[in-house]
């Protein structure tokens, strides 16, 4: 920290909100590090509790982004009461402890300068509000836009996207249409708006009113996942309940061999198997490509107050890359911590048939994760695989067979155990990477 930052920290540390929010688990536990940083110009350092797995808003479900937005507005409201403010308003300052949002950038708190507007308002719109409005009012998933632009959706673009009937919905006129008009009008003027506002008597009560109204708006936004086949996967699957019970037992047997640090469940769906294995791991990440599935899982985990399982929306055939300046501001999924146990149940056929990833490539990728593995192979005769194969050109997936999967897996992994499920078209493998 620079001397200025240290002063801001002292101000925050002596506030009433800091201990209160720490106790509530809404700000990451942070303290002064007695070890001084070696770099010139820095006078102190902070140390905060470790976040088990870092994630980004383009990997969150609608409910996650909304809850992160509400956390941000809540903290800002508390800060304003004590003449503090937050200097930015980005969802990248929020991380997760399972299904609990946690604010991680204590350096964002600073004293409020009288007469100054909320510097983070525009950022709140582009990175929190517009993505939420887009999903809630237009049914357009926000992930591609947040991933495509590190600054989010600018007002002008939001206006174009929220056209037609959406323009009449709550909040769109003010925060989108008017905002965009004003921005284009003031874009090229050299007027000192900041000074003008100050002279006109702009005060914190205006920020407070805006924050209150935004919180009300965000709280009312809703998105219901479509009733796709995936959502029904849990209770009414095509395979029998007996198979599912065997699968649960298989997963449990591997999971309880020893405590794991980080579990990944790839294609987690309703999280049934994630939960089983997560009981024997310090932390678990439940990944699925279907936004609706992850939203439902998040809601359940949040209601259970789970702090051990983090649900994320990731398309494994196109996972999050490094982004931002030099591609290093946001790290690729693989660079944020590797699992020591990975579940890949009902996943291989989706990638191999649905996304045309060759079986060998797929196994190589799993091997690169350097993780112990529980993987399920769904034979081409299985109804689920048949459904995927139905739309494919004849002969395109001729190598998709149990024999070639086992060969590929055996080359890269030591297969510790395997079990054919009663349905006869699904096989489970427990495997450790070959060195």
């Amino acid at each position: 920290m620079t001397p200025d930052a240290l002063e801001d920290w002292r101000r925050l540390a002596s506030s009433a909100l800091f201990p209160r929010e720490l106790a509530a688990g809404r700000i990451v536990p942070t303290e002064l590090d007695p070890q001084l940083p070696a770099r010139a110009g820095y006078v102190a350092a902070l140390r905060h509790e470790r976040i088990h797995f870092v994630s980004y808003p383009y990997e969150w479900s609608f409910g996650m982004l909304r809850d992160a937005a509400l956390l941000h507005l809540d903290l800002l409201a508390s800060a304003l009461e004590e003449d503090l403010t937050l200097k930015d308003a980005t969802p990248y300052n929020v991380q997760w402890r399972g299904a609990w949002p946690v604010f991680v950038d204590v350096g964002s708190f600073e004293p409020l300068r009288p007469g100054e507007p909320w510097a983070g308002y525009r950022q709140f719109c582009t990175l929190f509000l517009y993505p939420l409005l887009l999903q809630a009012y237009a049914g357009v998933p926000f992930h591609a836009r947040l991933r495509g632009s590190i600054d989010g959706i600018p007002p002008e673009e939001a206006r174009a996207l929220l056209a037609g009937k959406a323009r009449l919905r709550r909040g769109v006129f003010t925060h989108v249409a008017l905002h965009s008009r004003l921005e284009s009008r003031y874009g090229d003027r050299r007027r000192d708006v900041r000074l003008e506002l100050k002279e006109a008597g702009f005060g914190k009560q205006l920020i407070q009113a805006n924050v209150r109204r935004l919180a009300k708006l965000v709280r009312r936004l809703e998105w219901e996942p479509p009733r796709s086949t995936w959502l029904e996967y849990g209770p009414t699957t095509t395979y029998t309940e007996a198979d599912a019970a065997r699968k649960a037992e298989f997963v449990l047997k591997v999971a309880r061999q020893r405590p794991r640090r980080l579990l990944w469940d790839l294609g987690a769906n309703d999280g049934r198997y994630t939960r089983i294995a997560a009981d024997h791991a310090r932390y678990a990440v439940a990944i699925d490509g279907e936004h609706g599935v992850v939203e439902n899982l998040y809601r359940t985990l949040r209601d259970e107050r789970s702090d051990r399982i983090l649900p994320l929306v990731v398309d494994l055939a196109d996972p999050s890359p490094g982004l931002g300046w030099r591609g290093q501001e946001r790290r690729a999924l693989w660079d944020r911590g590797r699992p020591d146990l990975t579940l890949a149940l009902a996943l291989v056929h989706h990638l191999a048939i649905g996304r045309n990833v060759p079986l060998r490539e797929l196994v190589d990728w799993l091997r690169d994760l350097q993780t112990e593995l529980v993987v399920e192979f769904v034979a081409p005769e299985d109804p689920m695989a048949r459904r995927l194969l139905a739309g494919k050109r004849e002969g395109l997936h001729e190598d998709y067979s149990r024999a070639s999967f086992e060969r590929a897996l055996g080359d890269r992994f030591e297969i510790a155990r395997s079990e054919e499920l009663a349905s006869g078209t699904r096989v489970l493998y427990a495997a450790t990477p070959r060195t």
Binding site: K87, D88, T90, Y92, N93, D105, P117, W118, A119, G120, Y121, R122, Q123, C125, P155, T174, H175, L178, H179, R181, L182, E183, S184, R185, Y186, G187, R189, R191, V193, R194, E196, L197, E199, A200, G201, F202, G203, Q205, L206, I207, A209, N210, R213, G324, W325, E329
Partner: protein
């Protein structure tokens, strides 16, 4: 975690909007801001006439 420099530019249009979005609390400030602009405009005009 906002930009490589960690500084956020609030944007003039966004600042004006914040004033307008303040609801009831905003009326006085908004009136004052535009009243001052009007006064300044009139004053400029007068100076122009004088020259």
């Amino acid at each position: 975690m906002s930009s490589p420099l960690g500084y956020l530019d609030p944007g003039s249009g966004s600042m004006i909007l914040q004033m307008l979005a303040g609801g009831f609390a905003a009326v006085a400030v908004t009136t004052k801001l535009y009243w001052r602009r009007l006064k300044r405009l009139v004053r400029f005009r007068k100076t122009d006439d004088g020259v």
